[in-house]
């Protein structure tokens, strides 16, 4: 038959018909119970403040829940491995996008030694228009420096 053998390995026993792993009802209910438990846990944990770890804990619990749903309810456990690869690949590329963009924002306005000024939006320190005068920005015709620093942007 014209087909990719490995894609079918988990599905067909060679006769061309569809054969899948069928889990039991109690098994599915058990997964549901685990999911409810994790939900209760994540709500309970939210009443406590762990500082920066708050989000991490919440995300770990959410990922545990998502893994249960994907692996058992969505049958990834018993499917072709490539399906799992598709699923995970999406998260990998998403992670690349979020992490590098986030990283850019985190490093915005770091000290540029040529200018000696900072423009950190979060602390509201001097905006570009208010950097101290350097010889690079001096006015050539009058010999004066650039205009005095304005108030810049309030936070």
């Amino acid at each position: 038959m014209s087909s990719n053998a490995s894609a079918e390995a988990h599905i067909s026993s060679g006769d061309g018909n569809v054969h899948v792993h069928i889990a039991s009802v109690p098994f599915y209910v058990g997964i549901f119970v685990a999911l409810v438990f994790l939900t209760v846990l994540t709500v309970a944990v939210s009443y406590f403040d762990f500082g920066a770890a708050n989000t991490v804990v919440a995300m770990l619990i959410a990922t545990a829940k998502a893994s249960l749903v994907a692996t058992f309810f969505m049958h990834l456990r018993y499917d072709s491995l490539f399906n799992t690869l598709c699923f995970l690949a999406a998260f990998v590329f998403l992670a690349i996008f979020i992490l590098i963009t986030y990283d850019d924002l985190g490093h915005r306005g770091e000290v540029d030694p040529d200018y000696g000024g900072t423009v950190m939006p979060q602390t509201g320190v001097a905006a570009p228009g208010s950097m101290p005068a350097t010889s690079a920005t001096a006015n050539e015709t009058t010999g004066e420096g650039p205009p005095a620093a304005g108030s810049g942007e309030k936070k």
Partner: protein, 275 residues
């Protein structure tokens, strides 16, 4: 050596089966050779589609991460404006609907038509419950004026000045020169009716709340439609032990909807810092 050995047929079928004697099943499309090939292709197609949905919602999560980094205080106060219990209820409802969707697939896999329909109906009803809860949440927010962008602002509050001299507006564009680059602090009314003072960019939190839950809600509606269609086809007897692919794919879409909510819920509802 010939490249291509073809089974020459004079104008006959374009399907060949090895000799196991099965009649060509009615659900088997003409370009597939076997039901197993068709099933594998359908599942893979659905997973590729799920990957695209993850990336689409993921963009919103990126926006969330960035705006939260820019203005963490707003998110700390978000618990005043979002009801954790309603959110948790919705989470349990969706998880339960995921269970019934998985059970619907299981029933289809063993060929139990009526059981499949029952589970599908329960799943759709759970989706309705979810939407009803969402409706209450949204209408409460409309009432309080916690809306995105231009629409943000409670009619009962007025602009004023804080003790430290900072101007306060009821809308990010009111109370100051509209061309000013200074974002204002904003007064708003929270879930329990108290007045809260929100830092600038608070509007962005509510904007993201509506865009993310709104897009998710749209997917809930789409999922309900898909499951309804599957239910109708099931009632017409189109599915069997040998062919339950649409039930499987419909349930996969529903699980995706659930997956997105699993991440939305903690990030929007549980992120506030209790005082």
């Amino acid at each position: 050596m010939t490249t291509v050995s073809e089974t020459a047929h004079a104008g006959a079928t374009h399907d060949d089966h090895d000799g196991h004697g099965d009649a060509h099943p009615s659900f088997l499309q003409h370009h597939f050779d076997t039901p197993a090939q068709q099933f594998a292709a359908s599942k893979l197609g659905m997973w590729v589609f799920i990957a695209t949905e993850i990336l689409m919602f993921g963009g919103l999560f990126c926006a969330y991460a960035i705006t939260r980094a820019l203005e963490p205080q707003v998110y700390d106060q978000s618990h005043h404006f979002l009801n954790k219990i309603l959110g948790a209820t919705n989470t349990i409802v969706l998880l339960f609907s995921s269970l019934t969707a998985a059970l619907a697939v299981r029933s289809a896999q063993v060929g139990k038509r009526n059981e499949t329909s029952i589970y599908l109906v329960i799943t759709i009803l759970c989706a309705c419950v979810f939407l009803v809860v969402k409706y209450f949440e949204y209408s409460h927010k409309f009432h309080l004026g916690l809306l995105p962008g231009h629409c943000f602002g409670h009619p009962g509050l007025s602009a004023s000045v804080l003790p430290n001299g900072q101007e306060v507006g009821t809308c990010l564009r009111m109370g100051a020169n509209p061309d000013s680059v200074t974002p204002l602090w904003v007064r708003a009314i929270d879930e329990s009716g108290h007045e809260q003072l929100l830092p600038p960019r608070a509007n962005m939190f509510f904007a993201l709340y509506f865009v993310m839950t709104g897009l998710h809600g749209l997917h809930v509606i789409i999922g309900m439609s898909i499951l309804t269609w599957v239910l109708i086809k099931n009632q017409q007897g189109k599915f069997s032990k040998a062919y339950f692919t649409p039930v499987d794919l419909g349930a996969l879409y529903w699980h995706l909807v659930d997956l997105v909510w699993i991440y939305l819920f903690p990030l929007l509802y549980l992120v506030g810092k209790p005082e």
